[in-house]
């Protein structure tokens, strides 16, 4: 079986500084993987490198979607190939209307798939329905993208985009950061609703608490640019008890 997302011995640097030092991951359809790691372990770099952001030099290895290398693809091409990155810090876009942004993204995906653009009325209906489930008000939808949103609202808006774009690979970069308990619950419920047999998710987090809500099938510990240890969901609890130091020693 070909993995939906495969990261093969991936090396990446920023400037002269190596950040990722040989990452191997294989995510199959239907699986949720968690990556845990201390600050500076390379978690965010990994999410950006997977999404194709400029400013990182890939010095070795490969990233494959359905067995095809995507390293030569631009971020928009990767997104249309099924990848979605929920940002740790969603970006404010003053002057860019929320609905036209969501529609442009959905239509880009549909055109790629050879489908017609979604008509405006049907689209508004679809967005409202999904937004309702995430507690996103009409007022928020009307505003410019992420402008004037609270931290929790921004994270919910990321999940709304994921729900609309229906990616085959969802990467969640520290989706729990800056969330209180209630917001964490809403966001996690939103993510859990998107768990599906044809989809895989990579949940990147510093803390174990998110994984109480989004229970992963596999947990990987990232430290100093390498996966130090992999295991089931119980590995997250181990980290919770003994910290990353213990894991590091075991590697």
């Amino acid at each position: 079986m070909t993995a939906l997302l495969e990261v093969r011995n991936l090396y990446a640097s920023v400037g002269d500084k190596p950040i990722l030092k040989g990452i191997n991951l294989s995510l199959n359809a239907g699986e949720v993987h968690a990556i845990m790691g201390p600050n500076g372990s390379g978690k965010s770099t990994m999410s950006y490198v997977l999404a194709g952001r400029d400013g990182y030099e890939i010095t070795g290895g490969d990233v494959l979607i359905n067995g095809d290398s995507v390293l030569e693809l631009s971020p928009d091409e990767r997104a249309r190939a099924g990848m979605f990155l929920a940002f740790q810090y969603p970006v404010e876009l003053p002057g860019v209307g929320g609905m036209s942004f969501l529609r442009a993204a959905v239509n880009a995906r549909r055109l790629e798939a050879g489908e017609n653009e979604v008509d405006q009325l049907a689209f508004v209906k679809m967005v409202r329905a999904k937004a309702g489930e995430l507690g996103i008000s009409d007022d928020m939808l009307k505003r410019a993208v992420n402008v004037g949103f609270s931290g929790g609202e921004k994270k919910r808006y990321e999940i709304l985009q994921m729900a609309l774009l229906e990616p085959s690979i969802g990467i969640l970069d520290e989706t729990d950061s800056g969330l209180d308990v209630d917001a964490l619950k809403i966001v996690s419920d939103g993510v859990n609703m998107l768990r599906a047999p044809e989809r895989t998710m990579l949940v990147i987090t510093h803390y174990q608490r998110l994984l109480n809500h989004i229970v992963p099938d596999h947990v990987h510990i990232l430290a100093d640019g390498k996966i130090r240890k992999s295991g089931g969901k119980e590995l997250a609890l181990e980290v919770e008890e003994s910290g990353y130091a213990g894991i590091d020693d075991a590697a």
Partner: protein, 416 residues
């Protein structure tokens, strides 16, 4: 006559009346400003020095362009000015409240025009002297229809020198669009806007001249007590374009909004120059300037706000922001405050930047192609300026022209 620059000679031009003769004399004396004249430091007119002044001698029909379609779209009465000559047919059946007169025969109006015209501006003298077409429009009451002045022309050997004086009577109100879309060699309109007490004018100036045209427009504005001008210029066309506007606030409570957008590519040169004279207290002025430059295009914004000694309680704001899409594009922004009063609120600022890489990544990471993502961010950069235009029909025109400009570089904010 200044040295080091060729100057067109008007000594053989047939000119009638003392005002136009005086303008000719001033032109013969000063001609085009040379590179050492401070206000023309960023916009050099060398290319015009060798050009003869060749006004059209008769009206010739041209095919209607975007301007006429725009006028029809907004339900406006269109006055066509073709190769610098006013089409008399378009002065028939004017909307209620509008009266047209011939500036050629009206010495008083010519005097009034020169009093409004930007002083020391070459077009003030040149176009008054040459006056290929002259029009006086008197406006009374609330004009039920918008007015569109469409400056057309298809002959690159010609220079167009229309002079239009628009006088709004006390409490008159009008919505107006100027559309400059000619292919003449030199387009040099001289416009005067005289707003009496409590008069109100909403206007846009759209400049989409041919890519080989030099556009130099000079506009003079006088605002009496509680008069209100909401003006917006959009400069897109031309090889070289300078849109210069001088405003004098002469009555308390006058309000002047004078915003502009310039969009340049290739080797285009766009210059937005304004001079706002707060001659009296309790007046407000606000200028929002946005520029987007690609390739090797160059943009200039010179904005001067002058507050006279007794003009207390003046509120004068100006903010210029430019977006450079290419490393070879260039912008010169020179907002200036000259304040002689002590109780005023005035601010100015200027920024130059590029598209934000993080914002671009955010959009593209959602599958939006890069060209579309760039267009969305450029539109976002312009939209707050355009949104400040209160009349919907006018802001729609601005947005349409800006969107067309983006589409010409393959930038479109919609996925098609």
């Amino acid at each position: 006559m200044p040295a080091l620059m060729m100057q067109p000679d008007l000594s053989n031009l047939v000119v009638s009346g003392p005002v136009r003769n005086a303008a000719r004399t001033a032109w013969q004396q000063h001609g085009w400003p040379g590179p050492r004249v401070e206000s023309w430091r960023f916009t050099k007119l060398d290319r015009l020095g060798a050009r003869d002044i060749t006004p059209a001698s008769s009206l010739s029909p041209t095919t209607a362009g975007d301007g006429l379609a725009m006028a029809q779209g907004m339900g406006a009465h269109a006055i066509r000015i073709i190769n610098g000559i006013i089409d008399p047919a378009s002065l028939e059946a004017l909307p209620t409240g509008l009266t047209a007169g011939n500036l050629h025969d009206d010495q008083d109006a010519q005097d009034a025009m020169m009093a409004l015209a930007p002083p020391d501006h070459p077009i003030s003298n040149l176009s008054m002297a040459v006056m290929s077409g002259g029009l006086v429009l008197d406006v009374a009451g609330e004009v039920p229809k918008s007015l569109a002045l469409i400056f057309e022309g298809d002959d690159a050997s010609l220079s167009a020198h229309p002079v239009v004086l628009i006088r709004l009577a006390p409490a008159a109100r009008m919505v107006m669009a100027e559309w400059h879309q000619s292919a003449v060699g030199l387009s040099a309109p001289l416009i005067g806007l005289d707003l009496a007490k409590k008069a109100s004018l909403d206007f846009v100036k759209i400049q989409t001249e041919d890519s080989a045209t030099s556009h130099l427009s000079a506009t003079g504005v006088l605002l009496a007590e509680k008069a209100r001008l909401a003006g917006f210029s959009l400069s897109v066309g031309g090889e070289m374009a300078r849109l210069e506007t001088h405003v004098t606030m002469a009555g308390e409570g006058a309000d002047c909004q004078l915003s502009a957008i310039y969009l340049g590519r290739g080797r285009q040169h766009h210059d937005i120059t304004t001079v706002l004279n707060h001659d009296i207290g309790h007046c407000t002025s606000d200028q929002v300037i946005r520029g987007v430059l690609d390739d090797r295009a160059r943009g200039v914004y010179q904005g001067k706000v002058r507050v006279a000694k007794d003009a207390q309680k003046t509120d004068g704001q100006q903010m210029s922001r430019a977006l450079l899409l290419s490393r070879k594009a260039e912008v010169d922004a020179k907002p200036e405050l000259e304040i002689y009063a002590d109780d005023v609120v005035c601010a100015h600022g200027a920024t130059v930047g590029e598209l934000d890489a993080t914002q671009l990544f955010y959009l593209t990471s959602r599958g939006i192609p890069e060209a579309n993502a760039r267009a969305m961010l450029i539109e976002a950069f312009l939209i707050d300026a355009i949104d400040s235009v209160e009349i919907d029909s006018l802001s729609k025109i601005l947005l349409n022209v800006a969107t067309q400009w983006m589409a010409q570089t393959g930038l479109t904010s919609h996925g098609d």
